[in-house]
């Protein structure tokens, strides 16, 4: 009896291990494919100069800058709002129909396709509010897109804080908001950060929502107000891969752009891991 159970366990574990390596293998294959093809074009000049020769030469500096603007804009909007919203659902409301409703809505917001956010952003920010194609319209659209991710991960992080912490704080005479500020948030902070980083990754890679709200194909000058358009890395990659007249000549640059994009995400993630580790040590 015990024997069969052990064998069962062995089989199951082997299968899972294989799955793990299979998935990792596939993902590494894609990553390797891009690194292998893209590494040769990377240089200081590639990163710090503008495209030339009809997108078949030069660099991608304006697109990098644009992507950073969009990251900053969307996180400025989504992080405070999302974190506060999560605090509300976890700490303030009881488990009633309202919380349930908010949770369903958050879940649904998370599963709304990015192209629908693009449609929405176009009608509300670009047309109705009259922002035009601009950093602010794109940032708000992207901000809405990551809002549910921020809310969900913050919620999970807050829920993971043991109830005893809160009771202890209350017993010492702290009121609710003090408890949240001094006890709950610091404890949940590392987990919240991980969620935030994930959402930054999402912002830097999305194409569909910015198609009709902010992305420009070519800008001879860097943007200087939030009502300007910007070039963005993912959109730049899309046009390089499909729209130029000489796709073969633009391909090395496309690979290079993909590599830079992935590198930015890698940088963010490592940052997140470091922050998380430091906090865990201090605890």
């Amino acid at each position: 009896m015990m024997q069969t159970k052990k064998i069962q366990e062995q089989i199951a574990f082997t299968v899972f291990r294989l799955l793990g390596f299979l998935v990792l293998g596939v993902l590494l294959w894609i990553l390797g494919f891009i690194v292998y093809n893209g590494i040769s074009v990377i240089s200081w000049e590639f990163i710090f100069s503008a495209p030339t020769d009809g997108m078949t030469g030069g660099g991608i500096f304006p697109a990098i800058v644009g992507t950073f603007y969009l990251i900053i804009g969307s996180t400025l909007f989504a992080f405070p709002l999302g974190i506060m919203s999560a605090i509300y659902t976890v700490e303030y409301t009881k488990n009633n129909w309202l919380t349930k409703c908010i949770r369903i809505m958050t879940n649904n917001l998370a599963s709304i396709p990015s192209i629908v956010f693009g449609l929405f952003g176009m009608t509300l920010f670009v047309n109705t509010l009259g922002f035009g194609d601009s950093i602010i319209a794109g940032s708000l659209t992207l901000g809405l897109l990551i809002l549910p991710v921020v809310i969900r991960t913050t919620e999970e992080a807050l829920k993971a804080v043991p109830k005893t912490y809160r009771l202890g704080s209350t017993a010492l005479g702290a009121n609710k908001i003090q408890t949240i500020k001094r006890v709950v948030l610091p404890t949940a902070f590392p987990n919240i950060i991980t969620g935030l980083i994930l959402s930054i990754g999402r912002v830097s890679g999305e194409t569909a929502p910015i198609l009709f709200t902010v992305a420009a194909y070519f800008l001879p000058k860097l943007p200087h107000s939030i009502f300007d358009q910007v070039m963005a890395l993912p959109y730049h990659l899309y046009v390089l891969a499909t729209s130029g007249t000489d796709i073969e000549a633009a391909r090395p640059i496309a690979y290079g752009t993909a590599l830079v994009l992935i590198f930015i995400v890698l940088l963010m993630n490592s940052l997140a891991v470091i922050i998380k580790k430091r906090f865990e040590k201090n605890k």
Binding site: K5, Q8, E9, A12, F13, F16, R17, G20, V23, V26, L27, I30, L31, I34, L81, M84, I87, Y88, Y92, M105, N107, N108, L109, S111, I112, P113, S114, I115, V116, L119, F120, T123, L144, L147, E156, K159, I177, L198, G201, R202, S204, G205, E206, T207, A208, L211, F212, P234, L237, Y238, A241, A254, A258, L261, I262, L266, M268, N269, S270, V273
Partner: protein, 398 residues
């Protein structure tokens, strides 16, 4: 002072609690406002009208019939319930080859008259002209009855040809089935893989492997969909084409594979997080009762993490159904009802992204694309409500 700030923050928190509802509400209002206009739009392209000779017994033609007539597939009025006569098609531009610019007068003031002459002279004619030049004198001419685009044409129409003239066909059935097919296959591939890897990471792998793999997979979640689409087009589609000996590489299956790969990091990351948040005491209790590690996993860990796994699956499905760029690049975008997964399909998001750019703002095509957005929205709403119900029911059972 400090008190005041605290209260202020508290109020702010309470207000922001409603923010998701407001957003969802706004999305609904704006999408449906644009989309609903479709059903007030005329079947015939805006600004145009279809005329026949007054002796013609045909009163009305459906968009489908109009298309067949103007494509030359229906050549006799008898098939449309008229007399046994060959149909003569008259497109607006032909007027310029019959009359010179001078004959049409300054600013085309005489154009309506000339149109009337031409149309009333031929009892077998069907003419497609701008509303603006509709002859004032309708003797000898009959305007075909115009209907608004109907709900049934939209929801169960089998053809999506938004640029067909004179009457565009907005049948979303092929798009809807294409979207569901691609996503369903993708999820079928991704869920077992994703949850399996999550279990491996959370429960089986040792700490060192986990610390290495988890960030690696989270990083890969950040690879933009355009990159996956590009990879799918250059690498995956040709491989499938070769292995399967298919006529073409851009198939629903290629789309599903790319989508499955894309959804994996999200599913793994969230499902693993859910498993890790289970208190250690639960595991220890199970093991102490003599359960093996594997039994602990599928009797304790999975049921307890089910709400998190459900969330992962919902996000995965959401990403698959709504994924735009990657699918646009690999599925071939043929708007037909798919017979097998090795045929080309066109999905709803890809349709929106590809067509919105060239659809004249405010026209029926533009509105139809917003209506597609509404359909997409409703599908995801249903999915997330279902997932919510499933995950909450499981918790109660425990």
């Amino acid at each position: 002072m400090k008190r005041l700030i605290d209260t202020l923050i508290e109020q702010l928190i309470k207000m922001s609690g409603a923010v998701t509802e407001i957003t969802v509400l706004l999305i609904i209002v704006f999408l449906f406002k644009e989309g609903a206009g479709l059903f007030n739009a005329s079947e015939v392209e805006k600004g145009y009208t279809v005329l026949v000779h007054s002796e013609n017994t045909v009163e009305r033609l459906s968009p489908k019939e109009l298309k067949e007539v103007f494509d030359g597939n229906i050549e006799n009025w008898e098939k449309l319930g008229g007399k046994d006569e060959a149909i003569r098609i008259f497109r607006f531009d032909e007027i310029f080859s019959i009359y010179t610019e001078d004959e049409l007068g300054k600013d085309y003031v005489l154009l309506p008259e000339k149109l009337e002459e031409v149309i009333s002279a031929d009892p077998t004619i069907i003419a497609y002209i701008p509303q603006k030049y509709l002859p004032t004198n309708l003797q000898g001419i009959k305007e075909l009855a115009k209907m608004n685009i109907s709900l049934t044409d939209f929801y169960i129409g089998k053809e999506w040809i938004p640029t067909a003239t004179p009457a565009p066909l907005f049948g979303i059935l092929p798009l809807l089935l294409g979207t569901l097919l691609v996503s369903f296959i993708a999820i079928l591939i991704a869920i077992p893989l994703g949850v399996g890897v999550a279990i491996y990471l959370a429960e089986i792998a040792n700490e060192r492997v986990r610390k290495l793999l988890k960030p690696a997979i989270e990083l890969l979640a950040g690879i933009p969909s355009v990159v996956y689409g590009f990879f799918g087009l250059v690498v995956i589609a040709p491989i499938i084409q070769k292995i399967g000996g298919l006529d073409l590489g851009e198939t629903a299956f290629a789309g599903s594979l790319v989508l499955a790969i894309m959804a994996l990091p999200t599913i793994i990351s969230i499902a693993e997080d859910a498993m890790r948040t289970i208190p250690k005491a639960m595991r220890d209790a199970s093991l102490a009762l003599g359960a093996t590690k594997w039994q602990t996993i599928y009797k304790v860990i999975i049921p307890f993490a089910s709400s998190g796994i459900a969330a992962a699956v919902v996000l995965g499905i959401g990403r698959a159904i709504g994924e735009t760029m990657a699918v646009l690049m690999v599925t071939g975008n043929a708007a037909v009802i798919p017979n097998s997964i090795f045929e080309s399909v066109r999905t709803i998001p890809a349709t929106i992204a590809a067509e919105l750019g060239e659809a004249p703002g405010g026209g029926a095509h533009y509105q139809a694309l917003f209506m597609l957005g509404c359909v997409l929205f409703i599908i995801t709403l249903i999915i997330s409500i279902v997932a919510e119900v499933i995950s909450s029911r499981k918790i109660i059972k425990e």
